[in-house]
Subunit: 149 residues, 2 copies
Amino acid sequence: MKLSTRSKYGLRALLDMAAHVDDGAVTLKELAKRNNIPVKFLEQIFLALRNAGVVRSRVGAQGGYHLARLPKEITLGEVIRVLDGTIAPVGCVSQIAYEPCTCPDMETCALRAAMNRVRDAIVGVVDTMSLADALAQTKTRTRRNGRSD
Amino acid sequence: MKLSTRSKYGLRALLDMAAHVDDGAVTLKELAKRNNIPVKFLEQIFLALRNAGVVRSRVGAQGGYHLARLPKEITLGEVIRVLDGTIAPVGCVSQIAYEPCTCPDMETCALRAAMNRVRDAIVGVVDTMSLADALAQTKTRTRRNGRSD
DNA sequence: AGGAATCCCTACTAATTCCGTGGGAATTGT
DNA sequence: ACAATTCCCACGGAATTAGTAGGGATTCCT
Protein backbone atom coordinates (compact mmCIF):
# COMPACT_ATOMS: atom_id res chain seq x y z
CA MET A 1 0.00 0.00 0.00
CA LYS A 2 2.96 2.27 -0.50
CA LEU A 3 2.79 5.77 -1.87
CA SER A 4 5.36 6.35 -4.61
CA THR A 5 8.36 8.55 -3.96
CA ARG A 6 7.15 10.60 -6.87
CA SER A 7 3.93 11.50 -5.08
CA LYS A 8 5.73 11.93 -1.81
CA TYR A 9 8.12 14.44 -3.32
CA GLY A 10 5.37 16.19 -5.20
CA LEU A 11 3.24 16.59 -2.10
CA ARG A 12 6.15 17.65 0.01
CA ALA A 13 7.06 20.38 -2.43
CA LEU A 14 3.48 21.55 -2.85
CA LEU A 15 2.96 21.72 0.89
CA ASP A 16 6.07 23.82 1.13
CA MET A 17 4.73 26.12 -1.57
CA ALA A 18 1.43 26.34 0.24
CA ALA A 19 3.18 27.31 3.44
CA HIS A 20 5.04 30.08 1.64
CA VAL A 21 2.22 31.06 -0.63
CA ASP A 22 2.64 34.74 0.11
CA ASP A 23 6.22 34.84 -1.08
CA GLY A 24 5.25 34.62 -4.73
CA ALA A 25 6.92 32.34 -7.24
CA VAL A 26 9.61 29.94 -6.17
CA THR A 27 12.23 28.18 -8.27
CA LEU A 28 12.70 24.46 -8.54
CA LYS A 29 16.22 24.86 -7.29
CA GLU A 30 15.00 26.49 -4.13
CA LEU A 31 12.18 24.01 -3.64
CA ALA A 32 14.48 21.09 -4.18
CA LYS A 33 17.04 22.37 -1.72
CA ARG A 34 14.50 23.15 0.97
CA ASN A 35 12.87 19.76 0.72
CA ASN A 36 15.71 17.39 0.05
CA ILE A 37 14.63 16.38 -3.41
CA PRO A 38 16.83 15.83 -6.49
CA VAL A 39 16.29 18.85 -8.73
CA LYS A 40 15.95 16.97 -11.98
CA PHE A 41 13.45 14.57 -10.52
CA LEU A 42 11.41 17.40 -9.13
CA GLU A 43 11.48 19.07 -12.51
CA GLN A 44 9.84 16.02 -14.02
CA ILE A 45 7.23 15.97 -11.30
CA PHE A 46 6.37 19.62 -11.73
CA LEU A 47 6.02 19.18 -15.43
CA ALA A 48 3.17 16.78 -14.74
CA LEU A 49 1.65 19.04 -12.12
CA ARG A 50 1.76 21.94 -14.50
CA ASN A 51 0.12 20.00 -17.31
CA ALA A 52 -2.59 18.99 -14.88
CA GLY A 53 -3.23 22.57 -13.85
CA VAL A 54 -2.09 22.27 -10.28
CA VAL A 55 0.72 24.78 -10.59
CA ARG A 56 1.57 27.53 -13.03
CA SER A 57 4.99 28.47 -14.24
CA ARG A 58 6.91 31.38 -15.60
CA VAL A 59 10.00 30.71 -17.65
CA GLY A 60 13.15 32.74 -17.84
CA ALA A 61 15.24 34.52 -15.28
CA GLN A 62 13.22 35.42 -12.19
CA GLY A 63 10.82 32.72 -13.26
CA GLY A 64 9.48 29.93 -11.12
CA TYR A 65 6.38 28.14 -10.01
CA HIS A 66 3.34 29.13 -8.06
CA LEU A 67 0.16 27.33 -7.12
CA ALA A 68 -2.60 27.55 -9.69
CA ARG A 69 -5.22 27.76 -6.95
CA LEU A 70 -5.46 28.53 -3.29
CA PRO A 71 -4.00 25.88 -0.96
CA LYS A 72 -7.45 25.06 0.30
CA GLU A 73 -8.58 24.31 -3.23
CA ILE A 74 -5.99 21.66 -3.97
CA THR A 75 -6.58 18.25 -2.44
CA LEU A 76 -4.00 15.60 -1.75
CA GLY A 77 -6.08 13.19 -3.76
CA GLU A 78 -5.88 15.29 -6.87
CA VAL A 79 -2.10 15.44 -6.62
CA ILE A 80 -1.73 11.72 -6.06
CA ARG A 81 -3.91 10.95 -9.06
CA VAL A 82 -1.84 13.22 -11.24
CA LEU A 83 1.45 11.73 -10.14
CA ASP A 84 0.58 8.09 -9.58
CA GLY A 85 -2.27 7.72 -12.02
CA THR A 86 -4.53 6.10 -9.47
CA ILE A 87 -5.26 5.72 -5.81
CA ALA A 88 -7.11 2.42 -5.73
CA PRO A 89 -5.32 -0.47 -3.99
CA VAL A 90 -6.16 -2.87 -6.80
CA GLY A 91 -6.83 -2.21 -10.46
CA CYS A 92 -10.23 -3.86 -10.49
CA VAL A 93 -11.76 -1.21 -8.22
CA SER A 94 -10.29 1.81 -9.96
CA GLN A 95 -12.53 3.95 -12.11
CA ILE A 96 -9.88 6.01 -13.82
CA ALA A 97 -7.37 3.18 -14.22
CA TYR A 98 -9.51 0.07 -14.28
CA GLU A 99 -7.85 -3.19 -15.00
CA PRO A 100 -9.53 -6.59 -14.76
CA CYS A 101 -8.07 -8.96 -12.19
CA THR A 102 -7.50 -12.67 -12.53
CA CYS A 103 -10.00 -13.89 -10.00
CA PRO A 104 -12.31 -16.64 -11.23
CA ASP A 105 -15.49 -14.62 -10.92
CA MET A 106 -15.36 -10.90 -10.63
CA GLU A 107 -19.03 -10.52 -9.76
CA THR A 108 -18.76 -12.46 -6.55
CA CYS A 109 -15.18 -11.58 -5.68
CA ALA A 110 -15.11 -10.93 -1.96
CA LEU A 111 -11.71 -9.32 -2.19
CA ARG A 112 -12.94 -6.84 -4.70
CA ALA A 113 -15.79 -5.82 -2.45
CA ALA A 114 -13.42 -5.41 0.46
CA MET A 115 -10.92 -3.40 -1.56
CA ASN A 116 -13.73 -1.18 -2.68
CA ARG A 117 -14.24 -0.22 0.92
CA VAL A 118 -10.54 0.35 1.44
CA ARG A 119 -10.43 2.60 -1.56
CA ASP A 120 -13.41 4.55 -0.27
CA ALA A 121 -11.67 4.98 3.05
CA ILE A 122 -8.50 6.29 1.45
CA VAL A 123 -10.33 8.52 -0.96
CA GLY A 124 -12.46 9.79 1.88
CA VAL A 125 -9.35 11.19 3.47
CA VAL A 126 -7.28 12.41 0.57
CA ASP A 127 -10.13 13.95 -1.37
CA THR A 128 -11.39 15.96 1.56
CA MET A 129 -8.00 17.10 2.75
CA SER A 130 -6.53 20.14 1.05
CA LEU A 131 -2.97 21.39 1.26
CA ALA A 132 -4.25 24.02 3.66
CA ASP A 133 -5.94 21.42 5.83
CA ALA A 134 -2.78 19.37 6.01
CA LEU A 135 -0.74 22.36 7.09
CA ALA A 136 -3.28 23.46 9.65
CA GLN A 137 -3.33 20.04 11.20
CA THR A 138 0.40 20.15 11.76
CA LYS A 139 0.36 23.55 13.35
CA THR A 140 -2.18 22.45 15.94
CA ARG A 141 0.20 19.80 17.19
CA THR A 142 0.08 16.37 15.68
CA ARG A 143 -1.94 14.27 18.03
CA ARG A 144 -1.27 10.63 17.54
CA ASN A 145 -4.22 8.38 17.92
CA GLY A 146 -2.66 5.05 18.59
CA ARG A 147 -3.69 2.74 15.81
CA SER A 148 -0.74 0.55 15.03
CA ASP A 149 0.96 0.39 11.66
CA MET B 1 -1.13 2.80 -3.02
CA LYS B 2 -1.17 -0.59 -4.65
CA LEU B 3 -1.65 -3.85 -2.79
CA SER B 4 0.97 -6.40 -3.78
CA THR B 5 0.01 -9.40 -5.89
CA ARG B 6 1.34 -11.46 -3.03
CA SER B 7 -1.28 -10.15 -0.63
CA LYS B 8 -3.93 -10.27 -3.29
CA TYR B 9 -3.28 -13.95 -3.95
CA GLY B 10 -3.01 -14.72 -0.27
CA LEU B 11 -6.31 -13.07 0.51
CA ARG B 12 -8.01 -14.60 -2.45
CA ALA B 13 -6.93 -18.06 -1.39
CA LEU B 14 -7.86 -17.53 2.24
CA LEU B 15 -11.27 -16.23 1.32
CA ASP B 16 -11.78 -19.31 -0.76
CA MET B 17 -10.76 -21.47 2.20
CA ALA B 18 -13.13 -19.55 4.42
CA ALA B 19 -15.97 -20.15 2.02
CA HIS B 20 -15.25 -23.86 2.00
CA VAL B 21 -14.32 -24.09 5.63
CA ASP B 22 -16.53 -27.13 6.20
CA ASP B 23 -14.78 -29.24 3.60
CA GLY B 24 -11.71 -29.80 5.78
CA ALA B 25 -8.14 -29.48 4.54
CA VAL B 26 -7.42 -28.39 1.01
CA THR B 27 -4.25 -28.80 -1.04
CA LEU B 28 -2.27 -26.00 -2.59
CA LYS B 29 -2.80 -27.54 -5.97
CA GLU B 30 -6.53 -27.34 -5.56
CA LEU B 31 -6.46 -23.83 -4.15
CA ALA B 32 -4.21 -22.64 -6.91
CA LYS B 33 -6.39 -24.09 -9.62
CA ARG B 34 -9.61 -22.72 -8.17
CA ASN B 35 -8.20 -19.22 -7.82
CA ASN B 36 -5.96 -18.78 -10.81
CA ILE B 37 -2.73 -18.57 -8.89
CA PRO B 38 0.68 -20.08 -9.80
CA VAL B 39 1.16 -23.04 -7.47
CA LYS B 40 4.75 -22.35 -6.55
CA PHE B 41 4.04 -18.76 -5.74
CA LEU B 42 1.11 -19.74 -3.57
CA GLU B 43 3.35 -22.22 -1.81
CA GLN B 44 5.65 -19.40 -0.79
CA ILE B 45 2.75 -17.34 0.39
CA PHE B 46 1.31 -20.12 2.49
CA LEU B 47 4.65 -20.79 4.07
CA ALA B 48 4.54 -17.27 5.47
CA LEU B 49 0.93 -17.60 6.53
CA ARG B 50 1.72 -20.80 8.32
CA ASN B 51 4.69 -19.33 10.16
CA ALA B 52 2.47 -16.48 11.23
CA GLY B 53 -0.17 -18.82 12.57
CA VAL B 54 -2.90 -17.93 10.11
CA VAL B 55 -3.16 -21.43 8.65
CA ARG B 56 -2.11 -24.87 9.76
CA SER B 57 -0.73 -27.59 7.58
CA ARG B 58 -0.46 -31.31 7.40
CA VAL B 59 2.30 -32.82 5.31
CA GLY B 60 2.24 -36.00 3.33
CA ALA B 61 -0.39 -37.66 1.22
CA GLN B 62 -3.90 -36.47 2.08
CA GLY B 63 -2.21 -33.48 3.60
CA GLY B 64 -3.15 -29.88 2.99
CA TYR B 65 -3.97 -26.62 4.65
CA HIS B 66 -6.77 -25.42 6.86
CA LEU B 67 -7.43 -22.15 8.65
CA ALA B 68 -5.90 -21.91 12.10
CA ARG B 69 -8.93 -19.99 13.38
CA LEU B 70 -12.50 -19.31 12.44
CA PRO B 71 -13.01 -17.06 9.43
CA LYS B 72 -14.46 -14.38 11.63
CA GLU B 73 -11.28 -14.37 13.71
CA ILE B 74 -8.90 -13.61 10.88
CA THR B 75 -8.80 -10.04 9.66
CA LEU B 76 -7.65 -8.81 6.28
CA GLY B 77 -5.23 -6.51 8.05
CA GLU B 78 -3.46 -9.34 9.75
CA VAL B 79 -2.96 -11.13 6.47
CA ILE B 80 -1.67 -8.05 4.68
CA ARG B 81 0.82 -7.38 7.45
CA VAL B 82 2.10 -10.91 7.26
CA LEU B 83 2.51 -10.84 3.50
CA ASP B 84 3.51 -7.26 2.80
CA GLY B 85 5.23 -6.46 6.07
CA THR B 86 3.30 -3.26 6.50
CA ILE B 87 0.15 -1.43 5.62
CA ALA B 88 1.24 2.17 6.06
CA PRO B 89 1.47 4.27 2.89
CA VAL B 90 4.84 5.71 3.90
CA GLY B 91 7.54 4.25 6.10
CA CYS B 92 7.64 7.16 8.51
CA VAL B 93 4.14 6.45 9.84
CA SER B 94 4.54 2.71 10.22
CA GLN B 95 4.93 1.29 13.69
CA ILE B 96 6.00 -2.20 12.77
CA ALA B 97 8.17 -1.18 9.81
CA TYR B 98 9.22 2.35 10.64
CA GLU B 99 11.71 4.04 8.38
CA PRO B 100 12.73 7.67 8.62
CA CYS B 101 11.93 9.80 5.61
CA THR B 102 14.06 12.49 4.03
CA CYS B 103 11.92 15.48 4.84
CA PRO B 104 13.79 18.38 6.42
CA ASP B 105 11.91 18.27 9.70
CA MET B 106 9.95 15.25 10.68
CA GLU B 107 8.28 16.88 13.65
CA THR B 108 6.45 19.43 11.57
CA CYS B 109 6.05 17.36 8.43
CA ALA B 110 2.55 18.00 7.16
CA LEU B 111 2.71 15.06 4.82
CA ARG B 112 3.48 12.74 7.66
CA ALA B 113 0.48 13.97 9.59
CA ALA B 114 -1.73 13.50 6.57
CA MET B 115 -0.44 10.03 5.85
CA ASN B 116 -1.06 9.12 9.43
CA ARG B 117 -4.70 9.77 8.81
CA VAL B 118 -4.67 7.78 5.61
CA ARG B 119 -3.10 4.88 7.42
CA ASP B 120 -5.73 5.09 10.12
CA ALA B 121 -8.45 5.05 7.51
CA ILE B 122 -7.04 1.96 5.83
CA VAL B 123 -6.37 0.19 9.08
CA GLY B 124 -9.86 1.08 10.24
CA VAL B 125 -11.25 -1.00 7.42
CA VAL B 126 -8.88 -3.92 7.16
CA ASP B 127 -8.49 -4.50 10.88
CA THR B 128 -12.21 -4.60 11.50
CA MET B 129 -13.05 -6.74 8.51
CA SER B 130 -12.66 -10.49 8.92
CA LEU B 131 -12.67 -13.09 6.20
CA ALA B 132 -16.23 -13.91 7.26
CA ASP B 133 -17.27 -10.27 7.01
CA ALA B 134 -15.82 -9.98 3.54
CA LEU B 135 -17.70 -13.04 2.36
CA ALA B 136 -20.95 -11.94 3.95
CA GLN B 137 -20.75 -8.61 2.23
CA THR B 138 -20.49 -10.23 -1.16
CA LYS B 139 -23.42 -12.53 -0.60
CA THR B 140 -25.66 -9.59 0.17
CA ARG B 141 -25.04 -8.15 -3.26
CA THR B 142 -22.19 -5.74 -3.73
CA ARG B 143 -23.69 -2.29 -3.72
CA ARG B 144 -21.42 0.24 -5.31
CA ASN B 145 -21.34 3.58 -3.66
CA GLY B 146 -20.01 5.87 -6.30
CA ARG B 147 -16.78 7.32 -5.04
CA SER B 148 -14.46 7.57 -7.99
CA ASP B 149 -11.11 5.84 -8.27
C1' DA C 1 22.97 42.70 -27.41
C1' DG C 2 24.72 39.30 -24.51
C1' DG C 3 24.65 36.47 -20.73
C1' DA C 4 22.57 34.27 -16.89
C1' DA C 5 18.75 32.07 -14.93
C1' DT C 6 15.04 29.31 -15.45
C1' DC C 7 11.52 26.32 -17.24
C1' DC C 8 10.56 22.68 -21.00
C1' DC C 9 11.02 18.13 -22.96
C1' DT C 10 12.66 13.62 -24.19
C1' DA C 11 15.29 9.95 -23.72
C1' DC C 12 18.18 7.11 -21.24
C1' DT C 13 20.35 4.50 -17.25
C1' DA C 14 20.33 2.62 -12.69
C1' DA C 15 18.31 0.65 -8.86
C1' DT C 16 15.02 -1.85 -6.65
C1' DT C 17 11.29 -4.52 -5.96
C1' DC C 18 8.54 -8.18 -6.90
C1' DC C 19 6.68 -12.17 -9.50
C1' DG C 20 7.41 -16.56 -10.47
C1' DT C 21 10.35 -20.99 -10.96
C1' DG C 22 13.38 -24.95 -9.74
C1' DG C 23 15.00 -28.60 -7.32
C1' DG C 24 15.28 -31.39 -3.68
C1' DA C 25 14.37 -32.96 1.32
C1' DA C 26 11.04 -34.50 4.73
C1' DT C 27 6.65 -36.54 5.87
C1' DT C 28 2.65 -39.35 5.55
C1' DG C 29 -1.19 -42.36 3.75
C1' DT C 30 -2.12 -46.46 0.69
C1' DA D 1 7.67 -49.03 -2.00
C1' DC D 2 5.32 -45.36 -3.95
C1' DA D 3 2.74 -41.35 -4.65
C1' DA D 4 1.18 -37.14 -2.85
C1' DT D 5 2.06 -33.42 -0.38
C1' DT D 6 4.18 -29.80 2.52
C1' DC D 7 8.70 -27.59 3.44
C1' DC D 8 12.58 -24.69 2.33
C1' DC D 9 15.69 -21.69 0.15
C1' DA D 10 17.82 -19.88 -3.56
C1' DC D 11 17.77 -17.96 -7.97
C1' DG D 12 16.33 -15.66 -12.58
C1' DG D 13 14.01 -12.34 -14.89
C1' DA D 14 10.56 -9.00 -15.59
C1' DA D 15 8.57 -4.83 -14.51
C1' DT D 16 8.37 -0.70 -12.28
C1' DT D 17 10.26 3.26 -10.43
C1' DA D 18 13.94 6.48 -9.14
C1' DG D 19 17.06 9.37 -10.82
C1' DT D 20 20.31 11.45 -14.62
C1' DA D 21 21.81 13.71 -18.95
C1' DG D 22 21.64 17.10 -22.16
C1' DG D 23 19.96 20.42 -25.07
C1' DG D 24 16.35 23.85 -26.32
C1' DA D 25 13.36 27.78 -25.47
C1' DT D 26 12.22 31.85 -22.98
C1' DT D 27 12.75 35.80 -20.19
C1' DC D 28 15.09 39.16 -17.33
C1' DC D 29 19.03 42.15 -16.18
C1' DT D 30 22.78 45.00 -17.19
